[in-house]
Symmetry: D2
Subunit: 448 residues, 4 copies
């Protein structure tokens, strides 16, 4: 993302807001975030919009801040869990909900056509001192969660990101004994890559084990993602964490809808079924899009890997809040953190990919799609985001083309390890042969 | 000035500084200054340059700040004394000297060719908290000027600009009784136009008179211009103020050179002659350009209307410092402020203009130039910025084309009112006939 | 007020709040305010209370801020309109109402007995970044008042106090042409004494006249007092301004109660009578004390000289809001500002005093009280704050002992100038003879 | 330390500075530091001294800041490495040198006698915005140390203190791969006690080992103490670290004096001997006291356990600077960090104590002193801070009474483990019998 684009985006946002109102602007610690935040700020002021500069904050705090001050929108400069050289923006509605595709399209069209409305010199926006969003946010969580019934020892890995002065402190105030790792802010992510994947949390897992901590909490660089490490130092499967929150929120708020992305496990059905939940699927990265005024009352949870939206708390993915809720639940039991996940089936999973040139992706997907749906024992087929076939035994295969890289991605989950092996073998051969036939060339399958 | 230009300028500056080092950025209170300052800041950070954001400060404080922190350059967003809808930038060298034409050309060429060097994500600039430049600056003046020997009552008119929290306070601390007018900051300049011209200071003059103050001090919007009102509420001629400073600084620092712009009075020769000064002329707005390392020791003053550079203090035009020096001088005498200007000839002046289309300006100037130099009694002719003829009796005529408007400007000063009338009549007829012959059209002479 | 007292006060406040909750702290520009604000802040934090440091703000903005953030209390370091060497504090309830005598007594007793509850090291308060109260406050007024129907030229005299960046700007935004005087902040009050009394506004009055402004607005140092200058440069009597607001608010909000202090004119009855208002009197400085939850609905205005509380806006004296409402009213008429006061009787007044040693005050007051009530034509006698006798013709005399100086103060208002003269003479002789008989000594009556 | 004391201290400092000049004030993150810093600030302003509020900074940065802005003194609110419930202040001279006993006595006497000079209301101090000391400090180190010749993997344990945003970042910028632990700021020290003793760094040591890091760096809560962990995860003896710096600085700056406290190892002699150094001893906590203008040129290092003063860098204990120098040295070698300490004898040590009532301490010390000096093979006896006997074989015993607790402390170092055992046994029996004879009571020796 260039500064010119940041300027255009700010102008597009100003135009969309009719050159009036207020926008909260924040960023993460990336080395390119300060320049982009300053440029966005300049563009908004020049577009006649007042700006509340929230500075460097976790993404959920930015979304919270938009709602807290009654602003018209929010802009967060961040590339979330991506490498330090990347950057981008997330836009938020006045309620703190990330922009839905329709809203993003309006911005994109303004930018594409450069149709920005200008304002005269005497109608420029003014910069407004931001209130202490981090403190307000923390107070609100503390009031909601209360204090723990028992002392828990927690390792918190902040990925050298914006949660460094929030998650460890708030867990301390809830009554935890906190040991932090990678908690000095540094946009170069020196301690580990920002994505809280199992590979990146090996150190944190070891740390939980050697300290005999009750659990570990890990974030990405901007605090919208949560990974959990159990009392034995084992990484808890993302989908299992989501299923835990589905069960928790259905129990708290009564039967309702669970919105989850196309790539999550079938285990969420098992949980939902027994708790009065109805699972609905969306495209990846769009679970928030259903949160309109009509729907939101019936929705108990929107979730995708590492991201949790509890609509009774806010319409944004919030890993700090989720961490506090998990710890609160643990405090109410006597067992270890792994006992919270009891009853959630741990069907084995695998994610991998094959390289495929961009120009062949669509042919490959068409071919694979056709073949997959012909498999036996297929219960259901989804085609709104790649193709996913669900088998009668809760096993499934998802094949998607990558939006940013030359890859076809495959996700498999099997009822048993053996079944998983079968699915991997089947899907691999379907995809590789489709790529081959598309290219008449020798494709070296690479697994990740 | 657009935000895109501000971004380009910042990138040009970064490129010029080899994507390294530190720049101090400031602005005045104009409604468009906040957006431009933010965009400049973003552009510099993105160009790999560290930024000290000085916020809203008087222009002399920005220049002082560059020198104080040892930065590599400074950028001030301001349109100085111009109307509130205008805006622009001034760039400063590491010594606080405004950029000279050669430096400006380098920036302009980078911008024209869009030849900006980029830096990688891990070499972005960082934003540095600015020290309290206003306080440091005030302390330094106070140490230099000391306290007054007698109490003076001063009216200060801040033009609703950036000097509001500096000039009145510093004069108070020197021991003055200060009454301020137009001293709340407002970039719309509600109290009066920002230029401290006699027309715009009628109210301030009345105020000095009715309060029986000892003097009045008026600034433009960003504090690089000084106008003086005497104890009777009369506006003191700009050139007389310059002559006063020439005399003061020659007396203090010994014989030396006085650099002044093409459009100032001959009275400065009278003063210089008796104080060991040698007057040199430069183009308008470029008196600072001679302040290189070799020259500066021999220079006692650079000045143009309302702007005063004392090289022993700093290489920038500084109306706050100048106001303090004037008040200090007054405190050392027993007479009224008008007595400070004794011995400076008050030859009458007039400035006016005729409208002339841009495309005819050069022909007109050539014609007028030819005619003017043919006048009798001409002692000297200067042609480096318009044409100025100096007569043997210290009368003179200057004709210049406006750089920004469709105007030919005329400046006349006569030894006597009658002589002035003659010069006005002569120059008017020369210019109007040149315009007529250039256009064969009826030009309505408009006087300002 | 010493720093030790400031520390004790903060501890008393913490104790009163049970060492919990949040207090907003602000101050004016006095030279002693920064130290006292810092000490109060330290004391509150040490007493376990969270602090929002609002910095330097007008008193009404501090009160507004307490309500805006939902704090438990507010402390404003200010000596309001008193000389620059004085200082003190005003405490505010969570609603922004100044503490009533009962609340003040609790604080005083904690201080007197030094009964402060301490908290352990781990329960200290935390300092919270303040939101932009000045902006929020200004936005709220602008939404309420709207923009003016006609352009008005207004002179604003800020007494070099905290309103410098609020009243002039907000009037500009309403559509006024604003010329400010004494608008650079300086806690030494260089321009004029902070009290907006007629004597101190001679310059501002002249200024209104010479600029042919539509009106003048003057504040004290902290913005809770409003004085008005009419289109002819005449100071509008305080009590007339109060009567104007009584009429305005009764018209807007329907019949109700008008609370005013013992020392204001009877003209407010005239206005109230015709607008459905019922006037009630309180001790001086305590008109806010009736604003409890039960009473506030029936109250239309609390007022004392220069101070106006409109309960539909807030429970604090607010001269910035009042100025905007006055200007709004003027914008709705076509006449001059003096026409707003039509129908309000301008009975002549005089305030003066006699020196009297503290030890004799009570005897003198008893004697004077006895004599005054024996006068003929007395309609009503009030003794809750000094003694005031109201005559049948709306003339009245008030005699009060000063709380801070060795003085007996006399206030007279007569139906006619002649009647006033009579009352002055009568009250003077009563008081001087009482002082004489108390001391058997020669008292030189001094009038102020 | 109470707020009242903080106020008195500030007043004493103001008095000492003749109610003039400038003081830089900072604090650590302790929960009681904010209130004390605010109160100190209030007291200084009220004492007529200008204040630069540096906010929360490491202690070496505060000392650096005093020198950087040319202030007259500095006050740091911190209890250094002590438990979170403690707090106190350190005062600094205009050069950034901690106050010497003579200066402390002056302050103490002003406080004891409450002889504070007051200033009038118009001479109060003003608060000055602090420059970005952390950035300035980091820049200076980076210029001095340069970048590393090889990549080093470093674990940094910040004790949840003020170095969290300094040491990890600066080591990154030097070219290290940094993994931080306990790096989120929290004045409750949740991760480990603030003292960087071996017991408190068990986790950090494990961490270095399991991450296969090149070394570990640990601080106390305010950054004036440095502990080092070697490539095998072993805690490096404090005295060995000091000897390393003695050798380094003697090599860099030529032969000179090494000032160290009474309680450090004899190994420093070994190093000094071979590097042209002369070791001198001072009381514990007073090694900085010799740094007057005359002495400083000849001094190469002042040191006591964990604290390092390099006079060519600054006159304050600076663990951030020391960490950078150590890492720089390591970068210049090819070996592991342990190789830096080669040639420094690792004679075994032990520190322990016996409980002893305050009233008996002096008798006990007198007795023990007498006995100790009678031991055979004694080479030298020091009595300026407890009693230390140095034997001919470089073994030694030090006995000191604790200044703050009811304890007699014993320090032993032996040439061999067997010799150490002997010394422990001897000193223990001397001390216990002295305590017994002083009390005729049964003392249970407790070892720490």
């Amino acid at each position: 993302m260039t500064e010119r684009f940041a300027l255009d985006l700010a102008r597009a946002m100003s135009t969309m807001l009719a050159n009036d109102g207020q926008v909260v602007v924040g960023s993460d610690y990336r080395t390119t975030s300060a320049e982009l935040r300053a440029t966005v700020l300049g563009g908004l002021l020049g577009g006649g919009v007042d700006v509340v500069d929230a500075g460097i904050v976790p993404t959920p705090v930015l979304a919270f801040g938009v709602r807290a001050v009654g602003a018209n929108a929010g802009i967060m400069v961040t590339a979330s869990h991506n490498p330090p050289e990347d950057n981008g923006v997330k836009c938020y509605s006045h309620e703190g909900r990330e922009y839905i595709p329709e809203e993003e399209q309006i911005l994109e069209q303004f930018i594409a056509w450069r149709k920005f409305t200008d304002v005269t010199w005497d109608r420029m926006g003014t910069q407004i001192v931001a209130p202490d969003f981090v403190d307000e946010y923390a107070q609100l969580i503390l009031r909601r969660v209360g204090s723990l019934r028992r002392k828990l020892k927690v390792v918190v890995d902040c990925a050298n990101g914006t949660t460094y002065n929030l998650t460890p402190l708030i867990l301390s105030k809830l009554g935890c004994e906190v040991i932090s790792v990678n908690a000095h802010p540094d946009g170069r992510f020196p301690g580990r890559p920002a994505e809280p994947s199992p590979e990146n949390l090996v150190t944190a897992c070891n740390f939980v084990r050697s300290l005999k901590a009750d659990l570990g909490i890990a974030h990405d660089g901007d605090g919208d993602r949560l990974a959990v490490i159990d009392e034995k130092g084992r990484y808890v499967n993302n989908d299992t964490v989501l299923a835990f929150f589905a069960r928790l929120l259905l129990a708290e708020n009564g039967p309702g809808r669970i919105i989850t992305s196309v790539d999550t496990s079938s285990r969420i059905y098992v949980v939902a079924r027994s708790s009065g939940g109805k699972v609905e699927r969306t495209r990846l990265g769009k679970t928030h899009a259903v949160l309109d005024e009509e729907n939101r009352k019936s929705i108990r949870l929107c979730c995708e890997p590492w991201k949790i939206i509890d609509p009774t708390w806010g319409f944004w993915g919030d890993a700090v809040y989720a961490a506090c809720r998990l710890v609160q639940s643990l405090g109410q039991t006597k067992g270890p953190v792994s006992s919270l996940f009891r009853g959630i089936p741990e069907n084995p999973q695998k994610r991998f990919f094959f390289r495929c040139p961009d120009e062949s992706k669509d042919i490959v997907m068409a071919k694979v799609s056709q073949e997959l749906t012909r498999q036996k024992d297929v219960n259901e087929v989804w085609t709104f985001d790649g193709v996913r076939v669900n088998f009668h035994d809760e096993s499934w295969i998802l094949v998607r083309k990558s939006g940013t890289e030359g890859k076809i991605r495959i996700y498999c989950e099997g009822r048993t390890p053996r079944r998983l092996k079968q699915l991997i073998s089947k899907s691999s051969s379907l995809v590789t042969s489709a790529i081959k036939s598309a290219h008449k060339s020798n494709v070296r399958p690479t697994q990740n």
